[in-house]
Amino acid sequence: MIAKKKNQDDSASDRVDSIETSINNLEQKFESIENGYSTVLNVTKSLTDKIGALKDVLAGKLRTEETQPAETVLSTKEIIREPDVALVAKSEAETAVTTESYEPKIVGFLCNWCSYAGADKAGSAQNPYPTNVRIVKVMCSGRVDPEFILKAFKEGADGVMILACHPGDCHYKEGNYRAAQRYQMLKKLLDQYGIEEDRCYFDYVSAGEGEKFVKVITETVAKVKALGPLKLLA
C-alpha cells in the first residue's frame, strides 16, 4: 500500500518535473517568440519610418510644384500671379475666436449679368439676408483676378464670395469657366497661406435665382462666423 503510495508520489513528482520542464520549454519558446515579435516590430517601425519619409519627400515635391505657377501656366494656359502681399495665417488656436457678437466681413464679387441681377432679384422679392457681404460688381466673373481675393483678405475680409453665371449662361460666353478654373488654383494657394477653404466660396447664381442668392449668402456668413475672424501675419 505504502509502496504503492510511494510509487504514486514518485510518479507525481516525475510528472511535476516533466510539467516544470515543459513550462521551462514553453517559457523559452515564448521568449524566443517575444524576441521574434520585437524584431518584427522593429522592422515594421523602420518600414513605417521609411514610408513616412517617402511621403514627406513626395509631399515636399508636390508642394514645390504647387508653388511654381509658371508650370501651371504651361498646362492650363492660365495663370495665378505671385501676390504682391505676403500672407501667413496664424495658428488655428489663435484664430478660433467665436463669440456671439462677432460679425464677419465678407466681400462678394458678383458678375453684372447673372449673379448681381440675382441679388437684385432677392431685393425685388424683399427676401432678407445678413448685412455682412459687401458686393463688388464686375462685368464678368472672368474679371475676378485672384489678386482681388488676396487683396480682400489682406484688407481685413474674413471671407470672400465669387458668384458667376451658370455654365453655358455666361454673357461673355466663357468668362465663368475661367473664373471656375482660377478658383480651383486659388483654393490651393489659400491653403498654403493657411486660409480655410470655407472662407472663399464660389458658386453660380442666375439672374432668376434670388432665393439661391439669399441661401448662399446666409450659409457663407454662418460658415465664416463659425471659423471666427481671419488673422494674418504681415
Partner: protein, 654 residues
C-alpha cells in the same frame, strides 16, 4: 478732388430702412467728399432736373449716387452727367434699394452697411477715368454665302434698302435645294414657281444692280472685323459668259460627252456642257471641265461652234480671286442629309428601289431622271411603298436631335403617292411625329384618312430590316414599339434621313472663327433671342446651317439677319466703340499670348513683328477676362481697372 454724393430716398423705399441723415454725417468727413445731397425721387422728371441743375452748379469732379440698382437707372444718370457736361464714366452708383433697404430688416444694420457701401464707391470713384467714346468709319456692303431661300431673301431685303450685296454660291445655279423640289409642304406649292420670282427679282429686278452673284465660288479667307471685313473669294471658271448666254441649249446638243448627273443623284446622265437642270437660274450652261474632252488634251470645240452667239463659250476662262470690302457676312450655306449607308439594315445602295428623300424629290421632279413620272428602277409604277421616318434622327447612335422637317416631307410624299398611284399601299414607319404650327398638320391628316396608309411605330432603327424577297420585291421585317413583329412588302422604300450640317461648315468655321455646336451646326449667339447671330460680331447664320429648319424658318432668319445689318451698319453713320473695354499697355506686354487664348471674342491679335498683343476695341466686349489673365499687368480693363477694384475693396472693408 471734389466728390458729390447724391442720396436718393426713393419715396420711402430707402428711408424706411436707412437713416440717410446718419449716413450723410458718417461720410461727410471723408476726404474729397465735397457735399452730400438728398433727393426725394431721383429718377422722376423733377429729380433728374434737380440733379442736373445741382451738377451744373456744383461742378463736382466725381459723382456717387446711392439709389436703386444700377441695372435700373445707371444709364439715366449717365445721360444726366453728359447733359451737365461731366464725363459719364466719372460716376459710380451704389445699390441702396435692391441690395440694402429691401433685404435688411434692422434699420441700424442697414444704415451701417450703407456707410460701408458708400465708402467703397467713394474710394473707387476717385480713381475712375473720363472715357471718351470713339467711332470709326464702316463699310455697309454685305457678303452672303449661299444662294438658297434664306440667302436670297436676305440679299433682296438688303438690296431693296439700297445696299450692295455680293452672293457667293458654290454651285452654278441659285435657289438652293427647294428649287429642285417639284412641290413643297405644307400647301403643295410648286418649288420652282415659288422661288423663281424671287430669283428673277435678284437677277433682273428693280434692285438687282445692288446685287452681284458669283456662282461656282467659295470663300477663301476673311480678315478684319465688324464693319470692316476684307473677304477673299475664289471663283472657278464656268467657260460660259452668263451675260451672253441665252440658254438655247444648242451647245448641250452638240456636246459629245455624257456623264453621270450628280444633280439627280446619278440616276441619269447629262452632258459635260449642260445646265445644272433645265430651268436653273442663271439661265446659262456651264462646262464640267473634268469631263470635257479639252481637259484631256483633245481639241473638241463642238459647243463653241454650235453656239449662236459669238464669244459666249470661253475656253480660256480662268480661276479668279476676287477681294471684297464688306461690313458683315451672312452664312446661309444650308445643310445636307445624313449618310444612310451607315445603317446597312436599310439596304440603301444594296437593294434596288431604296431611295433617300432627296432622290425621291428628284424622281417626282419634272426635271428629274424620269421626267416627273413616278417610276421604279424597272420602269414600272410602285404598288406598295414604305416611308421610313426618323432615319438617323432621334438616335443616340447617330443624331440625337429631331430634324424637324422630315415628317412633313414624308406626308408630302404620301400625298403625291396617293394621287399618282391610285390604290398604292403606303406604310409609314416612324419614331415620333412633329407638326407644330397652324398649317403643318394638314398633310398628316390627309395620310391618316387615306385607307391605304398605315402607321407603324418603331423604337430603334435597328428593329427594321429591309431585304429582297425571292420574287424580287423588297420587304421590311420589323419589331414595333409594342414588341410586335411583322413583315411589310414594299417595292419602293423611301428613307427620310436626318438633316446634318453642310459639308462646308467646318471650313467656314475656321475661316470666320464662327463656333460650331456639338452637332456641327453654326452656333448661335443666343438660342432664343439671337438665333440668327453667330458669336462673332458681324457674322450672321441663317437657315439650316444654323439648325435644321424649313423654308419658312430659313427665310425668316435671312430677313432677320438683314434687319440686324440694316440697323447696325448705316451709311454715313460711324461705328461707335464702347470705351469701357480692355487695352494693352505695349511696353508692359511680354508677348506670352495668354490673353489671345482666353479672349472669347477673338478680339486680341498678336503682332509677330513687335511681339506684342493688341486688342481690337470694336470686337472687345469688355468682359475683362484677359485683364485677369495677363501675368504682367499689361492689360487695362477700362472702368474696371485693378486700382478701381482695389480701392473699392479697401473702401468696403475700411
Amino acid at each position: 478732388m471734389k466728390i458729390g454724393v447724391y442720396l436718393c430716398e426713393c419715396g420711402t423705399n430707402i428711408t424706411d430702412k436707412v437713416d440717410l441723415d446718419q449716413v450723410s454725417q458718417s461720410i461727410s468727413p471723408i476726404e474729397n467728399v465735397a457735399y452730400v445731397t438728398k433727393i426725394g425721387l431721383m429718377c422722376s422728371f423733377d429729380g433728374i432736373n434737380s440733379f442736373e441743375a445741382d451738377l451744373k452748379a456744383n461742378k463736382p469732379d466725381r459723382v456717387v449716387i446711392a439709389a436703386c440698382s444700377p441695372r435700373d437707372h445707371e444709364a439715366t444718370f449717365m445721360k444726366s452727367m453728359n447733359n451737365a457736361g461731366i464725363n459719364q464714366y466719372l460716376m459710380q452708383m451704389v445699390n441702396f434699394r435692391e441690395q440694402l433697404s429691401w433685404v435688411t430688416e434692422d434699420k441700424q444694420a442697414a444704415t451701417d452697411k450703407a456707410v460701408v457701401m458708400l465708402k467703397g464707391a467713394i474710394a473707387r470713384v476717385a480713381y475712375q477715368e473720363a472715357l471718351e467714346k470713339k467711332s470709326i468709319s464702316l463699310c455697309t456692303d454685305v457678303l452672303i454665302i449661299g444662294a438658297g431661300p434664306a440667302g436670297l431673301k436676305a440679299a433682296l431685303t438688303i438690296a431693296e434698302a439700297g445696299r450692295k450685296v455680293t452672293i457667293v454660291e458654290k454651285s452654278p445655279m441659285i435657289g438652293g435645294l427647294p428649287v429642285r423640289y417639284e412641290e413643297l409642304f405644307p400647301k403643295m406649292e410648286c418649288g420652282p414657281c415659288m422661288l423663281e420670282p424671287i430669283e428673277h427679282e435678284i437677277l433682273h429686278g428693280d434692285h438687282s444692280e445692288n446685287i452681284e452673284i458669283i456662282t461656282q465660288a467659295e470663300l477663301l479667307g476673311v480678315k478684319g472685323f465688324y464693319g470692316n471685313f476684307i473677304a477673299q473669294i475664289k471663283k472657278s471658271p464656268r467657260f460660259v459668259d452668263v451675260n451672253k448666254c441665252i440658254g438655247c441649249a444648242e451647245c448641250v446638243a452638240a456636246c459629245p460627252v455624257s456623264i453621270k448627273n450628280e444633280m439627280n443623284s446619278n440616276m441619269n446622265e447629262k452632258k459635260a456642257m449642260d445646265f445644272t437642270f433645265f430651268g436653273a437660274l442663271p439661265n446659262a450652261t456651264y462646262i464640267d471641265y473634268d469631263a470635257c474632252l479639252r481637259s484631256k488634251g483633245e481639241s473638241c470645240d463642238a459647243c463653241q461652234k454650235a453656239c449662236p452667239i459669238e464669244g459666249t463659250v470661253i475656253f480660256d476662262d480662268k480661276e479668279e480671286i476676287v477681294e471684297k470690302n464688306i461690313g458683315a457676312v451672312i452664312l446661309a450655306t444650308g445643310a445636307q442629309l445624313f449618310d444612310v449607308s451607315a445603317l446597312p439594315n436599310l439596304g440603301y445602295g444594296k437593294l434596288k428601289d431604296v431611295v433617300t428623300s432627296y432622290e425621291f424629290e428628284r424622281i417626282l421632279s419634272s426635271g428629274g431622271p424620269t421626267g416627273g413620272q413616278l417610276l421604279k428602277s424597272n420602269g414600272e409604277a410602285p404598288k406598295s411603298i414604305a416611308i421610313i421616318h426618323c432615319v438617323g434622327s432621334l438616335d443616340e447612335d447617330h443624331k440625337s436631335y429631331c430634324s424637324g422637317t422630315c415628317c412633313q416631307t414624308g406626308f408630302k410624299f404620301g400625298h403625291e403617292l396617293q394621287h399618282k398611284v391610285e390604290g398604292a399601299s403606303i406604310t409609314h414607319f416612324y419614331k415620333q411625329f412633329v407638326f407644330p404650327g397652324k398649317s403643318d398638320y394638314g398633310l398628316y391628316n390627309e395620310s391618316k384618312n387615306n385607307k391605304h396608309a398605315k402607321f407603324i411605330n418603331y423604337q430603334s432603327i435597328k428593329d427594321l430590316n429591309c431585304t429582297e424577297s425571292e420574287d424580287g420585291m423588297n420587304s421590311i421585317a420589323y419589331k414595333g414599339s409594342t414588341g410586335k413583329t411583322g413583315k411589310v412588302d414594299a417595292d419602293l422604300i423611301i428613307l427620310l434621313p436626318a438633316t446634318i450640317p453642310g459639308a462646308d461648315s467646318q471650313a467656314l468655321s475656321g475661316i470666320l472663327e464662327v463656333t460650331l455646336d456639338k452637332e456641327g451646326f453654326f452656333e448661335e449667339l443666343h438660342g432664343l433671342v439671337d438665333s440668327a447671330q453667330s458669336k462673332v460680331k458681324g457674322v450672321y447664320i441663317v437657315g439650316s446651317c444654323q439648325s435644321p429648319t424649313d423654308i419658312k424658318g430659313a427665310v425668316n432668319q435671312g430677313v432677320a439677319a438683314a434687319g440686324y445689318i440694316l440697323s447696325g451698319l448705316v451709311p454715313g453713320r460711324e461705328l461707335e466703340i464702347d470705351p469701357a473695354v480692355a487695352e494693352v499697355i505695349e511696353e508692359k506686354c511680354a508677348g506670352c499670348r495668354i490673353c489671345t487664348l482666353v479672349c472669347p471674342y477673338k478680339a486680341i491679335q498678336f503682332d509677330e513683328e513687335s511681339k506684342k498683343s493688341t486688342i481690337n476695341a470694336v470686337l472687345c466686349q469688355g468682359c475683362g477676362t484677359c485683364v485677369s489673365a495677363c501675368p504682367t499687368n499689361a492689360i487695362i480693363g477700362h472702368h474696371f481697372t485693378k486700382e478701381e477694384v482695389f480701392e473699392e475693396i479697401m473702401g468696403v472693408l475700411s
